[in-house]
């Protein structure tokens, strides 16, 4: 099993003829993703460089291909509209990779998508991958390890791109597979968040443990901690980036800012530890902590001990 995407998933790419869209569509196809077409206004009836059919709009693309997921590389000024178009065309999940989308655009997008019941991942994110089955995003596929029935496997949820790769690589090199990895993105207003994904990983038979990678800014990690304390039985290993970040400074991501005393790493670390997660001090120890948590008979208890 996995969450959200698998080998049955039919994906279209909005912005398929752009530089980034074309490049990453090729990467996804190479990984084995079932990409069935793309959208590029004014290019109806043509083929993409990958030989995929190109449509003028999402509605045409979805009705012709039966796609259920859209991966968006449209430039930031047009990304909000593209996302709402995908929802209106009937996609059940939209993965918005684009960086730099205005926050108030995202406020409107979420409102629109929530009314439609469409799920969103991103913006400003690496996307989602179910190793061995489906990659919808820009992460390097080869660092992942698909579950093969012989090893433990974990679900990964992260606000950061490369830090996710770091965690994935530490798992893979230790023989821990990944069921699904979701980069939820570094923006203040976004789609799926920790809680919705914790809920799905908790229910997923193939997920034995969960890695949660947060960073400074907002209170998503505190909210996640409150949720996992009540509803998650699987072991959780967490890392929070930005302990050394100064307040009031935006650390690269639009959402990574400590403001008004809110969003500090300490607050998040304390909340997660109190909820029984293992929180590693070093980003280099995520794999090691996970190995220990997965091996323990009573993982949540072991987690809180190791986290002290």
């Amino acid at each position: 099993m996995s969450i959200l995407v698998n080998r049955e998933t039919r994906v279209i790419c909005q912005g398929i003829t752009g530089k980034a869209g074309a490049f990453h569509t090729a990467g996804c196809l190479e990984y084995g993703t079932n990409i069935v077409g793309g959208v590029s206004p004014g290019k109806r009836g043509t083929k993409s460089e990958h030989g995929l059919p190109v449509f003028d709009n999402c509605h045409d693309a979805v009705s012709a291909t039966g796609a259920d997921v859209s991966m968006i590389f449209v430039p930031a000024p047009f990304a909000a509209d593209a996302t709402m178009e995908a929802a209106d065309a009937g996609c059940s999940l939209v993965v918005l990779i684009t960086e730099g989308v205005p926050t108030l655009d995202m406020v409107r997008v979420r409102h629109y998508l929530d009314e439609k019941g469409t799920l969103l991942i991103g913006p400003n994110c690496p996307g989602i991958i179910t190793p061995g089955q489906c990659k919808v995003g820009i992460m390097p596929g080869y660092i992942h390890k698909p579950p093969d029935g012989t090893c433990k496997s974990v679900g990964i949820i992260s606000r950061s791109g490369t830090l996710t790769y770091e965690a994935v690589w530490q798992c893979t090199t230790r023989g821990i597979a990944q069921s699904t990895c979701v980069g939820i993105g570094g923006d203040p207003v976004k789609g799926l968040n920790f809680i919705e994904l914790l809920e799905r990983f908790e229910k997923d038979d193939e997920t034995d443990g969960i890695v949660l990678i947060g960073e400074i800014g907002g209170t998503d990690e505190e909210d996640a901690a409150a949720y996992l304390g009540r509803h998650v039985t699987k072991p959780v290993v967490a890392f929070i980036a930005g302990r050394t970040a100064p307040p009031g400074k935006r650390m690269g991501h639009a959402g990574a800012i400590i403001s008004g005393g809110e969003g500090t790493a300490d607050s998040k670390v304390q909340a997660l530890k109190a909820a029984g997660a293992t929180v590693t001090d070093s980003p280099a120890n995520i794999g090691e902590a996970l190995e220990a948590a997965l091996a323990a008979d009573n993982p949540r208890m072991a987690g809180s001990l190791a986290g002290t």
């Binding site: 930031a76 000024p77 730099g100 989308v101 205005p102 926050t103 108030l104 655009d105 995202m106 406020v107 409107r108 979420r110 409102h111 690496p126 820009i138 992460m139 390097p140 660092i143 992260s158 606000r159 950061s160 791109g161 490369t162 830090l163 996710t164 790769y165 770091e166 690589w169 570094g186 203040p188 207003v189 990678i213 960073e215 400074i216 907002g218 209170t219 998503d220 909210d223 890392f239 980036a241 930005g242 302990r243 050394t244 970040a245 100064p246 400074k249 935006r250 650390m251 690269g252 991501h253 639009a254 959402g255 990574a256 008004g260 005393g261 790493a265 001090d281 070093s282 980003p283 280099a284």
Partner: protein, 387 residues
């Protein structure tokens, strides 16, 4: 992006928010002329982004043209030093001369984006003139909030609840507050604010409702659609290295330590700083080269890091995904030749094209280079080098 107080007042006044009569000046003579137009009692305020102006002596009440001249001369000639400016302080280029008012009550009003509820929220407080964080901690019931519908904005009943929350009962005054809150919300949406704040919002002894001080921050991602804001941008208030970095699509923030960092990805860049600290070192900067980094961009990153004279060692931490390790290796080799490394550079590379990168670096045999086997090894090595 931030703007000055006088600019925020300008945007608010255009949206129908009542502000005291004021002028912006850049010279002592112009300050005296402004006083002649306003008369009576005025307040002279230095226009800088940093807080702590009052305590630093850069906000002054004046009752005559002579006093205004004196205050203006002091503020324009001296650098302002406050806890927010660092010990060097900052130069003051503009002054706001505004009519002073007799204040009866001070309130607070602001609009921000509530990340958890994913919509803007209007907050008002009966306790103005102090930081809202302090009120939130000490007297949270003084704060009243109303969340805004993304399309409908501020509704009539919400406005009424906010006014009731402020305890304003006089009909005319309630109307005036309502107009100000509506103006604030209008500016917030119109210009893609991340914060629009009036603090204090005051009731004068003669019953007027006025916005005395305003602060605005804007969503950097939305600046592309606001030429007005681009005109208001003041590069003089920004760190020149941060601006230089931005031009090359690098995200750079200087810090106080002595270990420079060059990393791909914001999360990994923060984690690298944390790791340095964990091993006893102090990071000199945050630097994210981004995913689509070129060799030229990475070379520029080295140049920016080395401009900071307190840097005694550099940690390069790359997990190649879209950014390729060999691109970084090429940049390292180019920087070693072009700029020259006078400090040790510890390199940890993993991910896309790592084998080619390692080979390139081995062939180049750069003396300053120290290759690390993993993340922990890299942090230990760089901390040992600068210790």
């Amino acid at each position: 992006m931030k703007i000055h107080e006088y600019q925020a007042r300008e945007l608010l006044a255009e949206a129908g928010v009542a502000v005291p009569d004021s002028h912006v000046v850049q010279t002592v003579d112009a300050a005296a002329e402004a006083y002649a137009k306003i008369g009576g009692r005025v307040v002279v305020k230095a226009q800088v982004f940093a807080g702590g102006r009052g305590k630093a002596g850069f906000v002054k009440l004046c009752d005559s043209a002579e006093q205004v001249r004196e205050a203006a001369e002091f503020m324009l000639a001296n650098r302002m030093v406050s806890p927010q400016t660092g010990s060097d302080g900052i130069a003051v280029k503009r002054l706001l001369i505004a009519a002073a008012v007799d204040i009866e009550s001070e309130y607070y009003a602001a609009v921000v984006v509530d990340r958890t509820r994913r919509r803007p929220v209007v907050m008002v407080s009966r306790e103005g003139g102090v930081e809202i964080e302090i009120v939130a901690k000490e007297n949270p019931t003084a704060i009243v909030k109303q969340w805004l519908h993304p399309h409908l904005g501020l509704l009539g009943f919400q406005s009424a609840r906010l006014i009731a929350g402020l305890g304003v009962t006089d009909k005319e005054q309630a109307k005036a507050v309502s107009r100000i809150i509506r103006g604030l919300v209008e500016v917030f949406f119109k210009y893609d604010c991340s914060l629009a704040e009036i603090n204090p919002l005051v009731r004068t002894k003669d019953g007027q409702i006025l916005a005395i001080d305003a602060k605005m921050n804007f969503d950097d991602n939305a600046i592309f659609r606001h030429s007005r804001l681009r005109e208001m941008f003041d590069p003089g208030e920004e760190n020149p290295l941060e601006l230089q970095a931005k031009e090359h699509n690098l995200s750079y923030i200087p810090l106080d330590g002595n270990i420079g960092c060059l990393v791909n990805g914001a999360g990994l860049a923060m984690a690298t700083m944390d790791l340095i600290k964990l091993h006893g070192g102090e990071p000199a900067n945050f630097l994210d080269v981004g995913g689509s980094v070129t060799a030229e961009g990475a070379t520029e990153a080295f140049r920016i890091i080395l401009t900071d004279k307190s840097v005694q060692g550099i940690l390069v931490n790359i997990f190649g995904g879209i950014a390729k390790c060999d691109t970084i290796a090429e940049a390292l080799i180019a920087a070693a030749k072009g700029i020259g490394f006078n400090v040790p550079v510890v390199v940890r590379l993993e991910g896309t094209n790592v084998d080619r990168a390692r080979k390139l670096l081995a062939e180049a045999a750069i003396p300053a280079l120290v290759i690390a086997t993993d993340l922990t090894d890299a942090a230990k090595k760089v901390c040992a080098k600068v210790a």
